[in-house]
Symmetry: C2
Subunit: 552 residues, 2 copies
């Protein structure tokens, strides 16, 4: 299978257009029918989408946040007449492997959550203007917006026809957002999901599926007016200058992807990858202005972008890699200085963006179906933000003391304020809160250690790492762990990690990745959906699916 | 496949023994190796279990609550030397269909939640005394107890070896209870689930896997002492007399199961069943003593038992029934009078039991993989407790006015206090709270209507029912709905209902049925577990499984 590249930029978009009107941006979906990802053999008719379309959307949402501080409201609309978006392309789904379907849904879920994160935390607030039919993933995209407008032209409707048409779920957040965000009554939701043609007009408002319907004659003006009203609620700065997200400094080799501050090394024979993140070469900038001047060379932003790309690359392009080692390299104080800088400058729009970006990248790790193991060794800088990598890992191994012939200081974890609130997980808790759900008093102890290097034995004692080994045990213990992990069923690991990583409360976000996605993935394995007589396989063929009637 | 009967009684137990010591009961697992359910071709070695073993356990837990008010602590222990319980029988799992595996796990999950409900709400508190190895489902059973003791004999351990041995999850609550109830640190949970032989001794305490370890020499005395300490915390009455749960008045025919107050009619050609619940023939008893004297003939208890059996029968024995109609028949005031009686007598242990039993039965409906449709017609009694059936349904249809030639009053729903707190769902909310998550003000309006019959148009207006139809539309609309539902993929319905029924918060209970179960069911479809080269198929054969290494 061709490599999937998550990097793009507006000059390369085939499916989206951006237009600007003062503090309002229009994000216009105008899918190029012939623009299937990697030349896939399906046509993207009726603004239907595949992963390639969503990679552009994700890029646009990111760029709007960083490159356009002046944008306070983003209006998603369709560039085509009479159709907003027909959802995920069904031929594409029918041709996809199970892994591709699951990975596609995961990324689109993240993109939609990213839109919500933008509205909530960047105050770049999304409005969805549905000018035409919004079906399936099309309506699920709309559901990510804060405000949904539907044109009342006696034709345009919102619909979740996945169940009747395809025997799968509206699984990109659809069911969860309908019940938990829009708070649609469960029996109405059940009806809505059974009606292929969807619901239009005032009924869509009455059922809380959309926020307002607007007659065709007043459509443009009302959308513009609403966008400006929404923009007025934003706290984004008026006269700030955005920073440019330049192409990543990335070199892809056979067994390696090298970025400026991240290396990804692949050992396919062992099903093993190593992600090494390097701490900052320089100290924190002298001023917020200096940080702005660094642009995407500012270390926290660079790391966020490179780490994100590495994780996405691993998911899509290194499917048989089961275990990922997290390593860091550099000066802990440099990391902490940058964290402090980010915290102190939190009132600045760009620093806020960077913090939330790092949060989202760490969340991508939490929902990635690979076993993560952090290796905390001399020379590493698991401090503050980078310590989150250790707390996101399924296991963490720490070296006690030093290595023979290595005159670097013993490995240490250094906690910072960043670990106590900057990067909540999807469940709303910090990784440390989730980790110490059963011993909140430990959290208090740890707060008292902020800024102090915690070496191996103490870290193990405090529960910050899984185990600490002396040098003479390290290689053997690590080898045994990796061999053991490699011997387990990859599916069982995926299911186990999806449970153990999310102790405690659930949120709409975790329900989407837990409850909804897990059921959808189950259905994606069922013959009623994907078998030769299944609905997904037969869609469009004129032949009706034949279902096994057994209720499981 | 042979019919599965969920009814049993101690005289027929093959796998469990009950012993009593004052206010402590001992529930002793001593599985008859040759006692597989319906003559299944596997041996229940090492106290491993199948559905038949769990049906007895469920019966025992129920009877202890109703027949033994004097029991304040229940000690689960093994009747075999050196083994507590080896978990679900692996040969049984290997031979089971997907539906059987899913149904087995669902029932065992309900049984374990029933144990927790007993500890919490009946104050019949469970202690698990692990005298031997507790592996997989064996430890998951222990996890349901309030207090877990492990003998420290340098041999006995607790373990969740499902992942390394069988490539499936500890899916009967195991992963969720480890992280959310025992609050074991996630990386330790990850280690624990990777160690086939499990963890024993003080380490098991340090990791919060058990509450205490006790040397062999002090084992019996310490267990007894702990049981008596726990019993002292209970508020159960000292001198009360239990009531006997007699065999159900049940007549099983080809297309019908008839109970005293519940009828289950099967229309296999249409994939349709009808459950009709009859209201009480008599008014509420004159006194609590009179209610006790009625024993299992007391209407609310009768209905709970019969409805529960009907639902379990549908799940296991009518697998191709996709839609269940709920009907009621009788006098609404009679239902409300019984509800009032239950509420007023809530200080009485038996009335408390009955209320929680009804709650559990309604929860079984919530997690049953069938589409439920309530039909609210003249002559029905959807009032108070029975109105919960309408609120548990995926859709509800109500007749407006009367039918030609039918001189009964128009159909009505009558709300009672019961609908505002007696029967919380697994998510911790009432069905009405869940239903009106988006409009809490409606809940206030509804409270004002307690006791007043609400007829079709008003009920639809208030959102209590999905739709209300006049007589001349009724038959067509119902026919269309049933035909439509029957045309959908049964799997898609199962996944959709599992999402739409659980709006709002999640609890440990809903996480077990949502997150954990959904992932387990996904794994139960994966070749790595169930394929010819899968771990579940090859277990015990001496041949190692071959895994597809792709991470999904």
């Amino acid at each position: 299978m061709a490599t999937i590249d998550y990097q793009t930029d507006p000059s390369r978009y085939r499916h989206w257009k951006l237009a600007f009107d003062g503090d309002v941006a229009y994000l216009i979906m105008d899918v190029d029918q012939a623009g299937a990802l990697n030349g896939g053999e399906y046509e993207l008719k009726l603004n239907s989408y595949d992963l390639g379309v969503d990679i552009e959307l994700n890029d646009a949402v990111q760029r709007l946040r960083f490159e356009h501080p002046e944008v306070r409201c983003v209006v998603i609309k369709s560039g085509k007449d009479n159709v907003f978006c027909a959802g995920a392309n069904i031929r594409m789904l029918g041709k996809s492997t199970h892994q591709q379907k699951v990975n596609f849904c995961k990324f689109t879920n993240e993109t939609r959550l990213g839109i919500e994160d933008s509205s909530e935390n960047s105050k770049q607030i999304y409005l969805c203007a549905i000018n035409g039919n919004a079906a399936g993933g099309g309506y699920e995209l709309a559901l990510a917006a804060d405000h949904i407008m539907l044109v009342d032209d006696r034709r345009s409707a919102v619909a979740l026809p996945e169940t009747p048409l395809l025997a799968v779920l509206p699984g990109t957040g659809g069911l969860t957002r309908v019940t938990d965000k829009r708070k649609v009554r469960r029996d109405r939701a059940d009806m809505f999901c059974s009606i292929e043609e969807g619901i239009r007009g005032t009924k869509a408002v009455d059922w809380r599926l959309v926020d307002e319907v607007v007659p065709n004659s007043k459509w443009k003006d009302t959308v513009a007016a609403r966008a400006h009203e929404i923009a007025a609620r934003s706290d984004r700065p008026k006269d700030a200058k955005g920073i440019k997200l330049n192409p990543l400094a990335r070199k892809i080799e056979a067994d390696r992807v090298a970025y400026s501050h991240v290396d990804l090394d692949i050992d396919r024979a062992r099903g093993l990858a190593t992600v090494t993140v390097r701490g900052p070469a320089q100290g924190a900038p002298a001023s917020v202005e200096a940080a702005h001047a660094l642009g995407d060379k500012f270390w926290p932003l660079t790391v966020a972008r490179e780490l994100e790309d590495a994780v996405l690359h691993l998911r899509s392009n290194e499917r048989e890699i089961g275990v990922v080692l997290f390593k860091t390299d550099g000066n802990a104080q440099g990391v902490l200085d940058h964290d402090d800088f980010l915290s102190r400058a939190n009132g600045d729009w760009l620093m806020r963006e960077i913090r939330h970006y790092l949060k989202r990248v760490l969340k991508r790790v939490d929902v990635t179906a690979k076993s993560f193991i952090a290796l905390i060794e001399p020379g590493s800088c698991f401090a503050g933000t980078l310590a989150e990598l250790a707390f996101a890992a399924d296991r963490s191994l720490m070296l006690i003391g030093t290595r023979e012939g290595d005159n670097r200081k013993p490995a240490a974890i250094t906690l910072g304020q960043a670990n106590f609130g900057l990067y909540p997980m999807g469940n709303g808790l910090t990784r440390l809160q989730t980790r110490f759900l059963g011993e909140p008093q430990t959290l208090e102890t740890l707060k008292g250690k902020i800024g102090a290097p915690i070496e191996g034995e103490e870290a193990a004692e405090l529960g910050l790492v899984t185990v600490a080994y002396e040098d003479f045990d390290w290689d053997d213990e690590l080898r045994i762990l990796l061999e053991e992990r490699a011997s387990f069923s990859p599916d069982a690991m995926t299911g186990m990690e999806a449970n153990l990583r999310f102790a405690g409360p659930e949120t709409m976000e975790t329900k989407i990745f837990g409850r909804l996605t897990a059921w959808q993935n189950w259905i994606f394995q069922r013959p009623n959906a994907i078998g030769e007589q299944g609905a997904l396989k037969l869609y469009g063929s004129g032949v009706s699916p034949t279902f096994n009637k057994e209720r499981v």
